[in-house]
Amino acid sequence: MPVAPGPHIGTGRTTRRVMIDVLLGLVPVFAAACWVFGWYALMQVGICVASCLAAEALFTAMRRRPVSLGDFSAVVTGVILGLSMPWRCPVHVDVVASFVAIGVGKVIFGGLGHNIFNPAMVGRAFVTIAFPALLGAGGYLYTGSGTPPTDVVTAATPMTVAKHLAAGKAGQVAGLWPLFLGNVNGSLGETSALACLVGGLYLCIRRTAAWQIPLGAVLAVAVIAGVGNLLHPQAQWTVLHHLLGGALLYGAFFIATDPVTSPLTPRGKFIFGAGMGALVMVIRTYSGYPEGVQFSVLLMNATVPLLNRWTVPRPVGGPVPAPKAQA
């Protein structure tokens, strides 16, 4: 939500209302995940939501604070976290991620509104580094015998294939149409660009999510990938693959737009989104990870106080206020 200089007017928007809006926005993403991965989507999201609620209840009780389960923020964290997991992620990984997300990501800073990093991404980044075997490329592949639950899980994720292609190995690039619809392997919520767009546009129209953040992220990726495309016109992984593949849209619409950990001003939000998109491209291109949305969001979260100071808005008719001197 942008914060403009006063005077202000109160609205009926409560935290609970905003969080329910986010959950509504996530419905198409969840539906797409259920369509692609079947019951696994329900299982992962269910475990993450239940663990997040348990962690919230436990940690707020430890701090002797009133129970804050009713504001649905822990549910949102759980759903976003669950949808960012691979389909066959073991239960203990979900539980560890949820407890780290709520405990280290949120409650330790003082609870909702005081956390500097996106809780769901803190949990996701923790388990990414803690369990590299389970959340790396192998964690997405169906390895058992017999019939796989769905066809997509027998193939590597599109982002892993892109990494292989960049390393000069052979690989079959996913078509744009499957990437758009979501009929590919990947983390539960990221596969369908269509679902992310539908849910994300709902949030932007409801003004629950600031449209500047996804716009900045998508523009940055389009520009950087476009330049790359011009330099390597024969590359199979094009701008559109970069935009539709991976968790970019999911992250730009649902993760980066967390009002607590994104900048306050519209200009700041745009810079925040653009920075996130640029970092995603840097991580995708130059790091060992095939996708970098979680680390980009966390890195940009760290710059939010700077962005807030940099983009102090001008009051109506007044001069630009000088930022407060640092003591």
């Binding site: 803690a130 075997a133 389970l134």
Partner: protein
């Protein structure tokens, strides 16, 4: 010798818990974070610190009448550096693998603020007995802190303790290992949580006995 400052016994006890160098004074953070990935490295570091702190404290205490105020930090550092060189060469000679693992952190004991702090606070003001008791107490406190962090990190990160398999390390256990805890972020997270726990216990004790 006039009674100035705490007695040797007080110095010794103070160093272990009430003025624990890591949990209460927040000194020596660099080795605390860097070498607590497993118990062996942590205990080697604690031993090196015990040797250097004991030597430096005794030496400074013996020459405390000769110290000039504006040169004392320089003298402390040179004294410490002499003992650190001995410790470094000793570890390199008899524990080559450990020396490679500890890398620059043994030479870095020179700038470990625990030792300069103890020279300044205790050894440059009190006699050799108090200084030695202080050195041993502070080193034990440091070893205790390092052991607590290293235990958490090694058990969670590698499933071992002092390199000994804890028995539940079947092949499937690889899936439950928190590799992160053995990596640098694990040090920050463990230190933060244990520090919070130490503060919480201290404040709980203060609540029970407000006058103490």
């Amino acid at each position: 010798m006039a009674k100035d400052g705490p007695t040797p016994l007080e110095r010794f006890i103070q160093g272990i818990l009430p003025e624990n160098p890591v949990y209460r004074q927040l000194l020596g953070m660099c080795p605390t974070l860097a070498v607590t990935g497993n118990m062996k490295a942590a205990m080697t570091m604690s031993g090196a610190v015990l040797f250097v702190l004991l030597g430096a404290n005794l030496m400074v205490s013996l020459i405390r009448g000769l110290l000039k105020p504006h040169l004392r930090i320089l003298v402390f550092t040179l004294t410490i550096a002499a003992f650190v060189t001995v410790a470094d060469k000793f570890i390199a000679a008899y524990m080559w693998e450990m020396s490679k693992e500890l890398g620059p952190y043994v030479p870095l004991i020179i700038v470990n603020c625990i030792i300069i702090c103890r020279c300044e606070v205790c050894a440059s003001k009190q006699g050799p007995v108090a200084a030695a008791a202080d050195a041993v107490g502070q080193s034990l406190g440091f070893a205790l802190a390092l052991a607590s962090i290293a235990t958490v990190r090694e058990v969670l990160g590698s499933g071992t303790w002092f390199g000994i398999d804890l028995g539940w390390r079947a092949a499937a256990y690889d899936n439950y290992k928190l590799v992160l805890m053995a990596l640098p972020p694990g040090a920050f997270i463990t230190l933060g949580l244990l520090l919070g726990g130490a503060n919480w216990m201290a404040s709980a004790r203060r609540r029970r006995r407000p006058q103490a």
